[in-house]
Each structure stands twice: as C-alpha cells, then as structure tokens.
Point group: C2
C-alpha cells in the first residue's frame, strides 16, 4: 500500500510518494510507485544518480530500473558524512555532470540522507541554471524533515548550510524498507523530528504516536508509512505558507533546535546525532516553558515520556548552561535577529518568545 | 535627466535607472538616482560591494555614498577578465562574505561589466540561499545586455556559464558617464548588441540608430541614455515572456550569436571582443538569410552599413567556414536541440530556422 502527500507550492508543487519494497527485490520491473515518479519527470532521457556511498545498492537498483526503461544513467557516489557538503565535492560533481554530458533536460536523483539531499539538490539547482531533481531519502530524518521544503546547500569551513538555494524537487520517493537496516541510534534520532511535529502543531498526532510507539520500535511498515506521511503533511503545511523563510512562520520548525544547535556546537559535532540533540532540546524548551508559566508540567512530562519510550535522550545535566548560552549567541539564526525561543503553550501549539535571559534558563533547568 | 525602465517579472520586477553623473564628482550627497536605488533595498544596513579591479574608483564612490548614509560597507575587488568567473573566485567571495558577517539582509552591489555581474550575481543567489543584489554595470555591453534578464553564473574549465542561477536584481543603476573612459573597441563592441535589438524586433529603432550614429561615436550622454533605455526595454520585453528560457522565445536574442560563438571558439577567446564577433555574426546571418531568399539584400546592406559606421567589423573572410561549422556543432545551446539559426525576415523581425547545411553556408558566404 502506498500513500502520497502533495506539497502545495503553486507551480512548484510536488508529490511525496511513500511505499514499501520500492528498491528491494529485483526491479527489472519497477514498482508502481517508482513508475509514477518516473512519469513525473518525463521526458526523461538522462538520469544523474548521486548516491551516498553507504546506500549504493539502493542507487544501483534505481539505476537498473531506470535503464530498464531505456533511460541513460550516470551514477556517482559520495562519501558518507557532513564533510561531503563541501566546495570540493560540489566542484567534483559539477565537473562529473559535464563529463557525463548532462544538459538542461537531465534529472538528478539524490539517494541518501540529508547530506546527499542538500548537496545533490544544490548541484541540481546550480548546474545549467537549474535541473529538475528527485529526492530518494534513505534515512528517517531525511524522509520526515530535510526532503520537504526545498532547502539545499553546502557548508563552508566556518558555517553550516551557508551556501545554497531554495530548490524544490519534482518528486520525493520514500521506501520504508530502507529503514529496516538503519543503525538503531540513527533510526530513533529521526523520530525526534516526528515528535516535534506533534508538539508544535498537532496534539492528535502526539496521541497517535503514543499508540504507535511499540510498532515504531519494531519499525513496522504500516506505522512508519503513517507517521512519515503525516510528518511530511505537517512540514508541507508550514513550508507552504513560508516557502523562502521570509514570514517567520517557518520558525516554529525550530522547536528544540536553538538548544540542539548549541548542544551540537559545544558537545562537538558527531558526538550526538542531530535528532538526539533535538530531543534533549525539546525537553529543555519544554522545561523552560513550564518555568515561565506558559504550559503545565504534565504536558511536558508526556512529551518527555514519549521521547524516552522512543529511545531518545532527554537529560541535559551533562551540559553547562553558561556554555550553551554562549554558543546560542553565535547561532546563525540568532545573528539575524534577537535570540528567540520556540516554546510550547500546550501540546500542539508553540510560540516564539524573545527576551529570555541566562538567568531564566538557569532557573528553569538547573 | 534620468530615465527608468521597469522590468516586469511579477514579484521579481525591478527598475533600471539610467542617468549621468551618478558616480562622478564628490558624492557625499548621493544623486537622486542613487538615492532612489538605495531606497529600493531598504532596510539596508550592510552592503557588500564587489567590484572589477578596473573600476575600483567607481566602487569607492559608491561605498562612500553608502557610508555617508550610515550603511556599513564591505568592499572587495576582483581581477578583470573572464577567468574570474571561476570556482576559485566564488569560494573566495563566499568566505569573504562570511568573514564580513554578511547575513540574509545584506545586499550585494556588483560594480563592473558582465563578468562581475555574472559572478557577483551568482554569489548573491547562493549565499544564505539568496541575497538581494543591485547591478551597477560599467561597460556598455553589460548595460544593454547582461544586466537585464537575471542570468548569473560562472564557468567551468571546459564550459562557459554552465554553473549558475536565474536571480533577478532588486535594481540596476547605470551611469552613462562610465562610458566616457571605456576603451574604444570595448565601447563599440557594446553597440553591436544595441543594433541587434533593432534587427530582431524594432525597425523604428534601427532608423533612430542611423540618426544617432554620429552622436554615439561622440558618446553623447543624451543619445546614450536613449539607446541604453530602449535596449533595456527591448530585452526586458523578451525576458518577460520567457524568464527561465523555457519557451524558446528568448532564442531571438541569439541573432548573430551562433556564428559569434563559433568565431570566438575558433579565433580563440579574447582575440575578438564579444560584440565584434556578434557584429560579424549578424553580417553572416544576414547574408545567409538573403541567400535563402528570406530577406532582400538591401535590408542587410543597411544593417551592415550601420555596423560599419559604428566602427564594428562585418567581414568574415578570415574565418574558415568548415571550421566554424564544426565549432557550431559543439555549441552548448546546440547540444540541447538541433542546430538552429536566428535569421531576419525583415528589419525588425527574425525567425528560427533549422536544417541549414554547411553547403547552405558555403553558398551564402563564400
């Protein structure tokens, strides 16, 4: 059974197709879902498949399916990890595409997690002033977060995601079978963003996640399809009203993230996975909101219990608040305006609060 | 006296302001035109001025005027010439902007010819997923051609303009005084594109250019303002209906350019200026159209006489037709479809013709 979520962005609208078994088994005959995605990008004569090295077998299955449809395929793999979001890799891919005789009608397929989506998406945005591209996210985090919204880009040595473009894909195709082999920490890490959607905009979804928690621990395909589809729907609703991050609406997606970025910056990137830092960040933001009298303790305890049940960390005691505070001041999103926190007012609703002091943090969190 | 041409691209519309004396003299008090442009990009707290090394004094005048208005200014110069449209320069500018603490509200000012407009425009398009930018073209070619239409980008070693974005400026400000010191060949070269607009879409403009020819040789400010404004109006009309070069309409701007690109590729870049190659290319395209019975000889003789009067070359006899033919086959714009020539049917009208053979060329041009 497959499900399709439509991201509505006027002429840049696109479908996210969620299914199982898309890239498993022999795929001389592509699945209905994959065929639907291929149809979206017709006429398709030349596909540029850019793949994370770790999921090359998925990329090869995709390439075979495309070739079986008479499409010329160029395949390139990229080393796993954030370091690939670099100018060096960008330069290499641009020249590879030229060598492969890519033209304006070629279509880029990004197979991998957020790193590949960001990198290959920007490559697509910038080659020949913009190629069409298809996202094939293989991590849960990429499925529910980075593959929706059109943000693409690379890092400079001194700043993450500072170079890039808003560039929407033609389609996203998600195969929940990809999650079966994802390392446990990486899998659970993706669930943090799922819980986030419930907290910021959908109390009923929080209840549903509590019901589904056991199935999610087992990576049940139906449960996964349901929560991925709903997460994409949530993010799409936010992005629709603030495509280029100009109205401030998109800021609610940063719930837990001001803390998470500071945690990642001080703990050193790579020690905690992004979703783990977000989970701790949501627990901290929740506690801060309780301390400010914005929300009752019980709601935050519910949030934290769900996070814990989903094997996510919520304890911030190992971090020094003053150190986090300093890191927050140099957060890219903070520099642009005053430091604001996205804080919950009830389960399913958040608002942006400015004027928080280190003292407020200490009172809430020590 | 100043004139403003509005480029209509729905929410991406912008004005081109053409004036004299904008950047000459002491500009502690900026001219009305410059003030109008600054107002377009308010709130403006931080300006990133990226300047061709050769026109640094203009950039400094602009910087002083901005600073006098309380705006923080970062200024960077770029070596003159096509080689600056490189990944190396892109990387350098991105990091420079980061060091200068540019944020999403910073505005890029591109001061120079087409190279700077393309490079700084792409830098603006890609930093923080898109900064606003203002074009300050200082060459005639940039004023009448590359500053209108939103094409930005850089070269790879093996392909010109292959990396880039469509990114529209907030405003263009043109100071005709800049042309007073432009080297003669470069100045006349820009006039080739002006004649092109007359040939492809405006017979009355061709007549007007004949009337103004003497004044243009003298670089008369009023004549320049008039022809620059009208050229921008012509290009804007074409771009309006084909912003992202998808409908094929924009192809008429390539009149003379299929030949010109082949001439540039075989003569070696830099021997002939772009406008000189375009002038010879228009003479060749005109002769081909005559030979095919599409237009009368007299119209093409008029075109050629005007080009000659404006000190532009029209003689192709030094080029080997077979060699040009080979170069045309590998033209980037040809690879994407069949080789098509934009040929005149009368003064002020062109159409695209496919199926031309080397034999047709030889018959027309030997």
């Amino acid at each position: 059974m497959s499900e399709t979520v439509q991201v509505e962005l006027s002429e840049r609208s696109y479908p996210i197709v969620i299914d199982a078994g898309v890239f498993s088994g022999s795929s001389i005959a592509p699945s209905t879902s994959l065929r639907a995605v291929i149809q979206r990008v017709e006429p398709l004569k030349h596909a540029l498949v850019i793949s994370d090295h770790q999921v090359l077998s998925t990329a090869r299955t995709l390439a075979n399916a495309l070739e079986a449809n008479g499409i010329r395929v160029s395949l390139c793999d990229v080393p796993s990890g954030e370091r690939s979001k670099s100018i060096v890799e960008l330069d290499r891919l641009w020249n590879w595409m030229l060598d492969e005789k890519a033209d304006r009608k070629s279509v880029v397929f990004a197979v991998g997690g957020g790193v590949i989506g960001d990198l290959a998406g920007f490559v697509a945005a910038s080659f020949a002033r913009g190629l069409r591209f298809v996202q094939v996210p293989t991590s849960l985090l990429a499925m529910v977060d980075s593959s929706v919204g059109g943000k693409t880009g690379i890092n400079l040595e001194k700043a993450k995601n500072i170079i890039g473009a808003f560039w929407q894909p033609q389609a996203v195709i998600i195969d929940t079978d990809q999650l079966a082999t994802l390392p446990a920490r990486e899998y659970f890490s993706g669930l943090a963003e799922v819980v986030k959607y419930g907290m910021i905009m959908d109390a009923a979804f929080m209840n549903r996640l509590e019901v589904l928690a056991d199935k999610l621990l087992d990576r049940d395909a139906d449960a996964l399809r349901e929560i991925i589809a709903h997460s994409c729907r949530c993010k799409a609703a936010v992005v629709k009203d603030d495509e280029r991050e100009t109205t401030g609406l998109r800021a609610i997606l940063n719930y837990g993230h001001t803390f998470a970025h500071a945690i990642e910056a001080t703990a050193g990137y790579g020690k905690l996975l992004h979703g783990e830092a977000v989970s701790i960040g949501m627990a901290m933001a929740g506690q801060l909101a309780v301390s400010l009298g914005m929300i009752d303790q019980q709601s935050i305890t519910s949030q934290n219990n769900l996070l814990s049940e989903l094997q996510l960390p919520i304890d911030h005691s190992q971090f020094d608040l003053a150190e986090l505070w300093t890191a927050m001041q140099s957060d890219k999103k903070v520099e642009l305006g005053r430091l604001g926190f996205i804080l919950p007012t009830r389960i399913g609703e958040v608002k942006r609060v400015e004027g928080i002091s280190l003292n407020d943090l200490s009172t809430a969190l020590r």
